[in-house]
């Protein structure tokens, strides 16, 4: 599986994403600068977590307008896989690749802690190595992860099996405990928790590995 990580200014989890991909796939991802207008030939594009553009104005807003996002959209349109983690999820909603919006946490505070997620859907490229209903522990670290969409959109997401992860013990007020969703073509996943932080037992667990395994299996 060939992958790329987009480097937005101050999206500071780009290295974490790179290390996790390297560890899981045995292959270093291409690091793509936000001002590049083309992507290398890859199967998976990762929009990493962090604070692109300082999260100024709105999280992900400025990054969604950067040049490279045109290429990411084209990649997604062609059916290429896109994974947006945390700030990356925010970039995906801001750029319209995923529906809804991520608002300030209901508790108004940044929250960093391991949370329990239930895997809701496994019939997709990102979660097939999990079991439906499986509970996994993955950390969150965000100030604006409160997923919002109108009722109709929420119903559609649920009806179409596009809610992949749900919180058990909602840390941010997210609608219907949503932690991660797919686009309608099921090739774009956005999630607030950080799977790349749980691939190494020394630093917090291995519950994120299955996500990468799923992608590797799908894409190679």
């Amino acid at each position: 599986m060939k992958s790329a990580v987009i480097v937005f200014p101050a999206a500071n989890c780009d290295r974490d994403a790179k290390v996790a991909l390297e560890q899981m796939t045995g292959q270093a991802p291409a690091m793509v600068w936000h001002q590049d207008s083309e992507l290398p030939d890859v199967d998976l594009v990762v929009l990493p977590g962090g604070f692109s553009y300082g999260d100024y104005l709105r999280c992900g807003a400025m990054a969604s307008q950067s040049r490279v996002m045109q290429a990411v959209k084209a990649h997604a349109d062609k059916g290429g896989m896109v994974l947006g983690i945390c700030n990356g999820f925010q970039v995906l909603t801001e750029s319209g690749l995923l529906p809804g919006a991520l608002m300030r946490n209901a508790g108004l505070k940044f929250v960093c802690k391991p949370v329990t997620l239930s895997v809701e859907e496994t019939q997709n490229a990102f979660a097939r190595h999990y079991e439906k209903g499986q509970e996994i522990t993955v950390p969150v670290a965000h100030g604006e992860g409160n997923y919002y969409a109108d009722e109709e959109t929420l119903n559609r997401l649920e009806g179409e099996g596009r809610v992949v992860f749900r919180y058990k013990g909602n840390p941010n007020g997210s609608a219907r405990d949503i932690a991660g969703i797919l686009n309608d073509k099921r090739n774009v996943l956005g999630m607030m928790p950080h799977p790349e932080r749980v691939v190494d037992p020394v630093t917090g667990g291995t519950d994120g590995r299955a996500l990468f395994h799923s992608l590797i299996e799908t894409l190679s």
Binding site: A61, M62, T93, E94, M103, A106, L108, Y148, G173
Partner: protein, 80 residues
């Protein structure tokens, strides 16, 4: 010309920050305070003298970047 853009949450979208402010004001003894909503104000200097053009440009800026119209609405004010 100068312009001011207000970006506020749409009606119906929950505003926990506004609520917290209201709560805090009540707690400080400002009993007359009812609902509170918080938004953003963005002041811009524009190198543009035509009001019509300025408005159109500002609208484009809002749609593209300044507001997320899934949750927010905006108002534009020109200040001569």
């Amino acid at each position: 010309m100068k312009a001011r853009v207000f970006v506020t949450l749409k009606n119906g979208v929950l505003d926990p920050q506004g609520k917290a402010i209201g709560h805090a004001l009540n707690g400080l003894g400002f009993g007359s305070v009812g609902e509170v909503r918080q938004g953003k104000v963005i002041d811009l200097e524009l190198n543009e003298t035509d009001a019509g053009k300025a408005k159109a440009e500002l609208k484009a800026m809002c749609d593209k970047l300044l507001a997320n119209t899934v949750i927010e609405k905006y108002e534009i004010e020109l200040k001569g």
